[in-house]
Amino acid sequence: MNISLLLEMAAEAAGDRVGLVCDGKRWTYAELLAAARGAFELIEQSRAQYVALLDESSEASVIALFGAALAGVPYCPLNYRLADEDLAALLDRIAPALVIGDEDRVARIAGDQGHTVLTRADFAMKAQELVPGDEDRAYDPGEGIAVQLFTSGTTAAPKAAILRHSNLLGYILGTVEFASAEEESAALVVVPPYHIAGISALMSSIYANRRIVMLPAFTPEAWLALVESEKVTNAFVVPTMLGRIIDAMDRGTQADVSSLRALAYGGGKMPIEVITKALQRFPHAGFTNAYGLTETSSTIALLGPEDHRAALASDDPKVRARLTSLGQAIPTVEIEIRDEDGRVLPTGEAGEIFVRGDQVSGEYKEKSALVEGGWFPTRDAGFIDEDGYIFLSGRADDVIVRGGENMSPGEIEDVLLTHPAIADACACAVPSVEWGEAVGVALVTRDGHETPSEQELKELVRARLRSSRVPERVAFVGELPYNEMGKLLRREVKKLLAD
């Protein structure tokens, strides 16, 4: 089965309904499908082996996703924020491709790789003009790869994760009821097109017949203005975006956000003060924390609106703590925690998070990472409490091993963040002659506070955790390094602390 089915069904059932709003232009499902079919012709003519997008979100990301699917060519949106050298290396791995977007840049950095390049406007225009006639086209049956995404490479060189039509359809058909969105509902999509959440948002909205309102370049002011003008009902943001939206509201940016009924977030750790403020700023919205990975076709665990409300209203520290959890596994996947030897761990014990289900690909172009029984080792570390709530403690690779004792950066950071003068914290391993590894921390002092003494912070950790957790190195920095999705770049902090 081909993911193009999602758009075909929307066009069949509600062809005249507006499916996408971008830069003021409105597209019906019938127009989007016609353009995707035109894109199929363009892709066939180009003889490309991949369809790449090197651009912000726009109608082109919808047309290219489904056009590539019809042609049976993997769609590969690229991160335009990468440095020239890194981007050229990725382009080389997918040559020859039909590249949509920054023509000049491709010519400059990958001019000799055999790509066909079209600007966003040219691609959309040609795709609309090339609508095929009535004769049956041989569209791809969808037995292969629909999407290829290069991982962000926070720990190593980017890997080419592949998502098959069956993975993506498994996710959508299992979690979205067809045409279930009310006529007035609208989803604000602001996640970059090269992120899995950006792709799954397009597919789930189209299948639910929920109008997509696209914001190509995020600013908190533009986001708030679109919520008001398009009466947006659903939105997904990464934690850094939500923080900036709330800052803008605090600074006095006015917008009517009463239409917003569902606000989902994910993609990184949400600071507790941001989510607490957000719950006050958006009183009409239900909040959902979505946890997922590229390799799992997006969401595998959720902390839903009810959980948020219950956690906030509770005096029980265990229930309150759920505000910082990933929620529970969605019904269509299985999740378990295993130790280093692959043994399944009981409730409450920390280890690596494993997942399986139709939507889980766990496959890279080079090799599959799946282990026996179709389980995917996420490399995320965490534990599950007795009610099935999953708590993340960091990447498995981030675990600090001090003299044979494993400790997760998260628990040390959480303690340090309780200090009123600490605004942000990152713990990671630093080399230690005595222990192999020891704890190093990089800290950001909160504005208006004096930097606390090292001794005071060490005492704080000693009092709350075991003495082995006490940081051996403490460094104060202006800010911690995050990527544009709000992911903390631990390897950079590690480098900084090692120097």
């Binding site: 089915l5 069949e12 979205v176 067809f178 989803a187 569902a262 239900g286 959720l302």
Partner: protein, 96 residues
């Protein structure tokens, strides 16, 4: 039959996409479905005239068959004379 095969009803407008397929004959409106529509429409059995709904998934009790309705019609779906039932998606609270 391969997943992804599109089957048409001989008795009504129903079309389905095969998601999972065991052994047995897939029927709509009481008559076998096929990849092509017969020249002359078959008679819709009154026992299988409950209708199909666009976007619904239909399964048998054993879980061997799963069909996605991609075009609705007046007939209802069955395998070897046993009616299929709908399988609901487990909608998430709009996570993306």
């Amino acid at each position: 039959m391969k997943p992804g095969t599109r089957l048409k009803s001989a008795a009504c407008d129903t079309e389905v996409m095969v998601i999972k397929c065991g052994s047995g004959t897939i029927e709509c409106g009481g008559v076998p479905m096929g990849e092509a529509k017969p020249a002359e429409a078959a008679v819709l059995s009154s026992d299988f005239s409950g209708g199909t709904l666009m976007g619904k998934r239909y399964v048998d009790a054993s879980g061997a068959f799963e069909l996605l309705c991609v075009k609705p019609g007046k007939g209802s779906l069955a395998v070897d004379g046993t009616a299929l039932v709908t399988k609901d998606a487990k909608p998430l609270p709009a996570s993306d």
